[in-house]
């Protein structure tokens, strides 16, 4: 194992802290997620480390449970969009012809509708459950992943080693997964970090608008919404989730950068 650069180490520690907190939320959180334990907007104290929210619930506990929901939904949606987007794009490139044309134009069509508005329309007619939320977010984001993966794969598809595999008689799955995917992975991993953060922002936005995670379940966007009136009175409760989103975004990208620089080496540096 070689040295990990400082920036990646910082990113790794913070990301791990958030993920562990999300994973072990019931063990760490001092109070329940919907439990009313004190007065409205109590200041930070030894009992309530981050104070209490607009109806007297412990903010730290809600942040921990909220992080759990936010990270889970964002992660699931990212995985969905990456798996689907990459497979569709690589298949389109390898098969080519009308398959590529039909898929790409369909993706363009979806992309021409603003994502947030599309999501709001769909969610306003569907029952808002976590599963529906993940599906809507993941499927809408497939378009971005598809465009990137297709551009990357097109460059690789014309390489002689792919032609050599074709001449050998290899089928589409082998060419997609063995010849093209390993070489397309580096830019995709870099994008993965970015897309995950966009997902966190997306789910937070939806919750803030009231169409994401429904109360009494907590998530970071929802906590901002519940406490936004407090800002007028100088209560910082709404800024804490914003801080969490920002630090998570930065640290995830620090890790993605490091992974990228390691995987781009072709000399067996993995």
């Amino acid at each position: 194992m070689t040295r990990i650069p400082t920036s990646a180490l910082i990113g790794l520690v913070i990301t791990a802290a958030y993920f562990l907190a999300a994973l072990f939320a019931p063990l760490i959180a001092p109070f329940g997620v919907g439990e009313i334990v004190g007065d409205v907007w109590e200041p930070m104290s030894s009992k309530y480390l981050l104070g209490t929210d607009g109806i007297g619930r412990d903010l730290l506990s809600r942040m921990i449970y909220g992080g759990r929901t936010t990270i889970f939904v964002a992660l699931a949606a990212t995985i969905l969009s990456f798996t689907l987007g990459t497979i569709l794009a690589l298949t389109a490139v390898v098969v080519g012809g009308w398959v590529d044309m039909a898929l790409s134009r369909f993706i363009d069509l979806i992309m021409s509708i603003p994502t947030l508005i599309f999501a709001l329309v769909v969610l306003s007619v569907m029952p808002v459950t976590i599963l529906v939320l993940i599906l809507v977010m993941g499927l809408l984001d497939v378009t971005r992943v598809y465009r990137l993966a297709r551009a990357v794969a097109q460059d690789i598809n014309v390489m002689d080693y792919v032609e050599a595999a074709r001449l050998r008689g290899e089928g589409t799955p082998w060419i997609v997964f063995r010849e093209i995917l390993p070489n397309a992975l580096s830019p995709l991993v870099a994008e993965l970090g970015m897309r995950f953060i966009f997902m966190v922002l997306f789910v937070s936005t939806l919750s803030f608008l009231g169409l994401g995670i429904q109360p009494p379940e907590a998530d970071w966007g929802g906590i901002v919404k519940e406490n936004k009136e407090g800002i007028v009175y100088g209560i910082p409760a709404a800024l804490i989730p914003a801080f969490a989103i920002a630090t998570l975004a930065i640290s995830v990208n620090l890790v993605a950068d490091w992974v990228l620089s390691r995987t781009t080496s072709l000399k067996g540096g993995r």
Partner: protein, 544 residues
Amino acid sequence: MSELLRVRDLKIGAHVIPPDGDPFDIEIVHGVSFDLKKGQVLGLIGESGAGKSTIGLSALAYGRGGVEITGGEVFINGSDILKDSLGNLRKLRGHVVTYVSQSAAASFNPAKKLMTQVTESCIQHNLCSQSEAEERAVTLFRKLGLPEPETIGDRYPHQVSGGQLQRVMTAMALCPQPDLVVFDEPTTALDVTTQIDVLAAIKEAIRDTGVGALYITHDLAVVAQVSDQIMVLQNGNTVEYGDTEQIINRPAEAYTQALVSIRSAEHAEKLPTDAPVLKVDGISARYPGTKFDVLDDVSLELRPGQTLAIVGESGSGKSTLARTITGLLPQRSGEITFDGRGLTQTLAERSKEDLRELQMIYQMADVAMNPRQTIAMIIGRPLEFYFGLRGSERDKRVRELMDEIELGPEFLSRYPAELSGGQKQRVCIARALAAKPKLIICDEVTSALDPLVADGILKLLLNLQKIEGVSYLFITHDLATVKSIADTIAVMHRGKVVRYGPKSQVLSPPFDDYTDLLLSSVPEMKSGWLEDVIAHRKMESAGN
């Protein structure tokens, strides 16, 4: 001071930052010394990695990315330029010393007209007015034999041919009337028939303008035509340094002797034997969406265990023929018969057996192997795919194949990027052999390699042909390679076969015009060859 350039004990180092592990310094040029008088040409020759370009650029006190001049002295007109300030160097570069690079196509700005770029350094250095600079340029265009010298400057780089662009670049280097020009492989990327014209133009321009020149190349025969002295380099060391005549005719060092007497691979022509393994009958093909036949009524035959060489310039349709035979480009008319059975037009309809028996080796071994697969995976896959070999059985066969290509088992766990060019090409050969093919199509397999390495590959191919009895369809533009490997030769020109027959017959007179041009354009290692050829040619080369 009679010396224009004096280099003493030049040491050049590079800072290497590996992806894992600590950065370290290496020395790539270990104390090289030479002199150059005004009006003379010094040829720097060596294989890739010999440090020839790095030394050439040191005459501009410049080190390419990560490369640094660490010691020694470089005097130009008596002053040590390595001690000069950046401001002084700026005045030197592009005025006193200029540079001609290998790939003219990549070195011109595609968005600007040629004249603007040729006169740029004159204007930048305030040497003369724009109109004077343009006058100089037109004079140079004429001297270099460019067509329409008055108006060619109004064209954009993509509107002239590769050979013309290289000559425009020479004009660009000569326009500020420098004392020294560094030519870095100026003709390497050109066809032989084009190379000869560019070479003649450069030689004349050097003689007429009286500049000194460093001429960097890997081709001894080329440098013999233009230079007064030659310096042979290997791994950053001087191997031999002397007059051209001495180096060519009486080389003292073993390495130089090897370079001079290259092409030791020899092959006696075999007589036609059994029924042909491959029969191409009246093939015509064009790329989709075009109305131009890239292949026009091509007919050829290849016997088992023999080699058919396809020779021609770029654009003659050689590689397209390979694509048609492999099924990547369906033919419009004609028949391809392989081992007695007809081959279908498209790849998708061919049986696994057809695919197995017809393998291909590519020009660029770098991109012909998946950079994310180890050598063991690359060679093992055809075994698994065609013969269903797994586990220890497959490993055993892979090791046998590694033996055949003369590489040790320690290479098996490596990735392609960790191999040298020659080793990569050997792995590609092993991958083709793994399928136990009847026919291997070799598309310019040696043209990206150094001469000594290429010679090794050719010997290996000949040897494997003896053992395995495989046939080769050998595509190349290099006639020396053809002489050493072929049984039958087909000369292609603009999509047609212009000459076809056994090697002895094709390479002996009387020649048709095109074959004569092609044969006479191959540089020979004797001085005065260039002038002889230019004087006795029957046909003008294409595109000039």
